[in-house]
Subunit: 367 residues, 2 copies
Amino acid sequence: MNEILSVNPEDFDCTVQSGVTRMQLNNYLRDTGLWFPIDPGADASLCGMCSTSASGTNAVRYGTMRENVLNLEVVLADGRVINTAGKGRRTKKTSAGYNLTNLFVGSEGTLGIITKASLKLFGIPEATVSAVCHFPDVQGAVDTTVQVLQCGIPIARIEFLDEVSIDAVNKYSKMDMKVAPSLFLEFTGTPSSLDEQAALVADLCSMNNGSDFKWAKDPEERSHLWKARHDILYACMALKPGSKPYSTDVCVPVSKLPEIIKRSKEEITKAGVCGPIVGHVGDGNFHVFFPVDQNNPEELQKIQEVSKKMALMSLEMNGTCTGEHGIGQGKRELLVQEIGETGIQVMKQIKQTLDPKGIMNPAKVFY
Amino acid sequence: MNEILSVNPEDFDCTVQSGVTRMQLNNYLRDTGLWFPIDPGADASLCGMCSTSASGTNAVRYGTMRENVLNLEVVLADGRVINTAGKGRRTKKTSAGYNLTNLFVGSEGTLGIITKASLKLFGIPEATVSAVCHFPDVQGAVDTTVQVLQCGIPIARIEFLDEVSIDAVNKYSKMDMKVAPSLFLEFTGTPSSLDEQAALVADLCSMNNGSDFKWAKDPEERSHLWKARHDILYACMALKPGSKPYSTDVCVPVSKLPEIIKRSKEEITKAGVCGPIVGHVGDGNFHVFFPVDQNNPEELQKIQEVSKKMALMSLEMNGTCTGEHGIGQGKRELLVQEIGETGIQVMKQIKQTLDPKGIMNPAKVFY
């Protein structure tokens, strides 16, 4: 089940079996000049990424799995096999019938098992450049993000790291960045358009009191920067040797980020735990990667409480209790508060009609 | 029901009631520097556009309604009211529960009535430039399109018109374009990035034997060009005075466009009817706007037969029987062929569970 079944370079699509991973696909595509950009960090299987509606650092430019799946083959609870867009179909758009594809994307395995996926592909950008900038507060980083988006700058990545995360990265990845709320940015395009973007973004950063703005143009320097970003979970764990990660994520309208990050930090401090914050700020989405001592149930409980409070704050601010991690078992109660009783009834009606015996990933998403 | 309930410029979103139209919203937004880009041509209501999953000329850049709706308020068949993403939620992404929003987008009113929609907004591009280029055949126009996409040129619109459509436009909109398969293109960005795009695209066109490449940089000239494109339905009707339009659309993987357009033209010629072809070529989607004499049932029948043959050809080529017009009543049988019996069963199970009495837009989408 780990075969790449077809790649159609002229049509910017491919079809893969359920075991094919993101990196396997991108290695295979290398000679075509194309890539599949959705990148949740880990080398996940693509059909798993469909099931959980994965996103990650590139979502600000390319969207999440929701926007990048053309068709799915799914085995239903009663053994029927369907192709959500019809067998072999792989058009960039369609208005033929219900959007079954996006009913299964993000359903966390509770409606059926995804055995094949047809995905969109994109041209690899001609040139890439990255940058880091540090701010006196979260507001400056968020204002810069909003202005970058307002100017229509085709930003490829825009990632927020708070001072705790920067400290972790400095120590783990041997860097010497200023310990302050920061943005990691990436731009793609033609070489001359990058120069233009560079100038504009440097201006916006300094308007918002950003400092130590630093371009990483050299591929090695760039790759060191993004490797550091991708290793952040390990960096956070290294802050407390012997700890295991407990991560949570919420997503709010971008303008609410400064407030929710401020209040989350207050809760983290009050609980006396370590909670580095890292966010896909262009989407309003951020994570806390708590390093937790497995032998300290009291600490775990405190972390779970902070995590729940953050989700409730997010709901207060028109946000969601999870931007990309999903509901699983831990956020089932929060999902009811987020969607409302009637919306949950409708979701359960769909679950009931497609899986009346409840055999598909039981006890996940709903009680 | 025609109120714009909120606009959040920093969050790039708005919420509208069901009667608000696309142009009403864009007029209202004018001072914010933002716009809602999905443009099916007509000044449709935004909730209607949700219901039919509208797209149009800007979809190659901004996607269709599927990618641009954040939340819907829906009245269900039994009177329950739900908010598909939870009341008031308007995050750019979420992985909380099933994607009910995209179950209702494109369901053509068969699952419930959409009474409110929260939509994504975008910054109005700094500068815009358009161009026209003519080709000896469809292949040249399609190859150019694929190469433009491969190069990652941030094309805003790329529209195909066959020689019959160009003739109609020349006559109706008083233009003197070369009567040949043509591309209408639009680019957006910063002024200097437009120059760069210009040079690259002019090269690609000439590599594919395009000729008479002409830039429309001046706003008046540009607006004349796109008005001509938007008036094309009327231009096609004017080819046969007194006629009414019968339009159809299909969508295939882009590489199949030359073949399906060639074969469609053969069918049109064989039937002896007039059938100008106009396409959103970047998405693999195209229309035929048949002018039909209402007093000639034989002609109507021929047109229906050509339309059906085109849909079947599209299905043969991994395509869909409708890229943006929807199923309605006319394509219900084709939908079964496209999705397959099992997929249709699943769609009908969902319809049955949400509308057991079949009172929501009865007899549409399914038999």
